[in-house]
């Protein structure tokens, strides 16, 4: 009986998540919702993205998956600036993945909504943990664009600062990057955007501190690990 259930589940999975050619195999874990009102996420980093030329077949996500993540479970996340749309997709990276950018279509019930998402409106990232956890190193992901533009030398980091006055990113060598607040009326899922120069990232992982200042006081520091897309792969 148990085997039959398992078999039928696998069969259903095949139906729901048709295998697509690519290094990412969906694990079957996916959550997606578009609400009338916002839901607020509790994490500091909402997304890490790049800019690139628009793709002809939206909606697709372009994500950077380093070689080190081969055969690991990864989680692709997206949240819209107004906080109404939140989604997670879990994948398993194939064993002999060589590292690089992957353009992947997703199973979605909101493809009309996702097609319209360009620029900073939809914050997205990939983590090398299962979607049930909130940890893992972070790698950039962006919607509806080709690979990053050759002249794109920055990553955009979207942060939820929990209503801080000012936000600063501190790099391992002590360099500081001031973040800019997003327009006042749309601060829901994230409220600051930081332009992070690619040149400031160490290979393969950079530990970045998020310093938040509120009412003249420095808030407890958050740290996240950012995967640096390798330049030679980022710019084919």
């Amino acid at each position: 009986m148990r085997i039959a259930t398992a078999l039928s589940t696998t069969f259903l999975m095949q139906l729901v998540f048709p295998a697509f050619a690519g290094p990412l195999v969906p694990t079957g874990v996916a959550h997606e919702n578009l609400r009338d009102a916002a839901e607020i996420s509790g994490r500091v980093v909402a997304g890490v993205g790049f800019t690139g030329p628009p793709i002809s077949t939206p909606p697709v996500a372009t994500l950077y998956v380093p070689e080190a993540w081969a055969s690991e479970v990864i989680c692709l996340e997206a949240v819209s600036q107004d906080g109404r749309y939140q989604a997670q997709w879990e994948y398993e990276v194939e064993d002999d993945w060589a590292g690089g950018y992957v353009t992947s279509s997703v199973e979605t019930g909101y493809s009309t909504f996702l097609k319209e998402q360009t620029g900073d409106g939809l914050a997205s990232l990939v983590r090398n943990e299962s979607c049930s956890s909130a940890r893992g190193a972070i790698s950039p992901a962006t919607w509806n664009v080709e690979k990053p533009m050759a002249n794109d030398q920055t990553l955009n980091v979207q942060l939820n600062s929990f209503r801080s006055d000012e936000v600063i990113l501190i790099l391992p060598d002590g360099d500081e990057i001031e973040c800019t607040p997003v327009e006042e009326s749309y601060r829901i899922a994230f409220d600051f955007i930081c332009a992070l120069p690619l040149a400031s990232l160490k290979s393969p992982v950079t530990a970045i501190e998020v310093l938040r200042i509120k009412s003249g006081r420095v808030q407890p520091v958050d740290t996240f690990d950012l995967i640096a897309p390798e330049p030679q792969q980022a710019r084919p």
Partner: protein, 296 residues
């Protein structure tokens, strides 16, 4: 002529009523008058109203230059801020400054955070402060005498997400508009807010902000803020955690229901109709009387 009036009297009456109704239900500009008790608000300063705030005791914190050594800080973090004590100071705001005002009742501290993408965020006794600045007013009830005026794009309260300190506790609003042919505004609609609501006044579209003029005082552990908006075809946006934003505006029904002209017009119309009817009957009776008696 007499016949002409009698013949077309209904056409004239219906036309008159139609024009009046159109005038009465035509959307007219209205203002919002709002009175709230809050712990904080955001303001983008605009307009010509002198926004000079006299404050007797305050501490100004400005961000340190990169690489500067840490200093002692009483109110602000000495590693990141330079602190300056101010007495009997006049705080002004250049146009376009984004201001966040928070009152911490537990510590009895008023925080003003100012940022201006175009340059100076504050004026302290006339001197422009470059970059962002945090002004802290200890014991604001004693340091601030009376009301502080403000004008610009106001956002009252914030959605109660984690870490948010600028919340609305209570408040009420009125929509005021002038009835047709009248100069004095009447209340078209009124209502109350729920704790945790976030309020702003927008134009026809969400992105179009409407300027508000108001003032606030600090009283009994809260900021008491009142504002009104200029007459416009505006709507009030109320955001509530877990609900889609709602927009409140005066509809033509509100306009009609609160219009004393409507009552007056109804009376006049009734009088005209009765008058015309009487005139008709009278003229009929008169003409029958005039007829020569018929012989059998």
């Amino acid at each position: 002529m007499k016949r002409l009036i009698l013949k077309y009297r209904w056409v004239v009456l219906v036309g008159f009523v139609a024009i009046l109704l159109a005038l009465l239900i035509w959307p007219r500009a209205h203002s919002f008058v709002v009175n709230t008790r809050i712990s904080g608000f955001a303001l983008v300063t605009k307009g010509q109203l002198a926004q000079e705030w006299p404050i007797s005791e305050a501490v100004l914190c400005t961000r340190k230059e990169a690489g500067a050594s840490a200093s002692e800080g009483t109110y602000c973090d000495g590693r990141r801020f330079d602190e300056e004590s101010l007495t009997q100071t006049l705080v002004g705001f250049p146009s376009g400054t984004e201001l966040q005002v928070t009152y911490d009742a537990t510590q009895d501290l008023l925080f003003l955070f100012a940022r201006n993408a175009e340059g100076a965020s504050l004026r302290i006794d006339g001197d422009a402060i470059k970059g962002s600045a945090t002004l802290i007013v200890p014991k604001p009830t004693a340091s601030i005498a009376g009301a502080l005026p403000l004008s610009g794009w106001l956002t009252i309260g914030e959605l109660p997400v984690g870490g948010e300190a600028r919340l609305l506790s209570e408040g009420k609003f009125q929509i005021r508009g002038s009835p047709v042919f009248q100069a004095n505004a009447v209340t078209l609609k009124e209502g109350t807010f729920f704790p945790g609501d976030k309020i702003s006044v927008v134009g026809k579209s969400d992105k179009e902000r409407v300027e508000a003029i108001g003032h606030f005082v600090i009283d009994d552990r809260r900021i008491e803020l009142q504002f009104l908006t200029e007459p416009a075809h505006s709507q009030m946006k109320i955001e509530r955690l877990g609900a889609a934003p709602s927009y409140i505006s005066a509809s033509w029904i509100d306009q009609l229901r609160n219009d004393p002209v409507l009552v007056l017009v109804s009376i006049i119309l009734a009088l005209i109709t009765t008058g015309l009817d009487l005139y008709q009957r009278a003229s009929e009776t008169f003409s029958t009387k005039r007829k020569p008696p018929q012989k059998d």
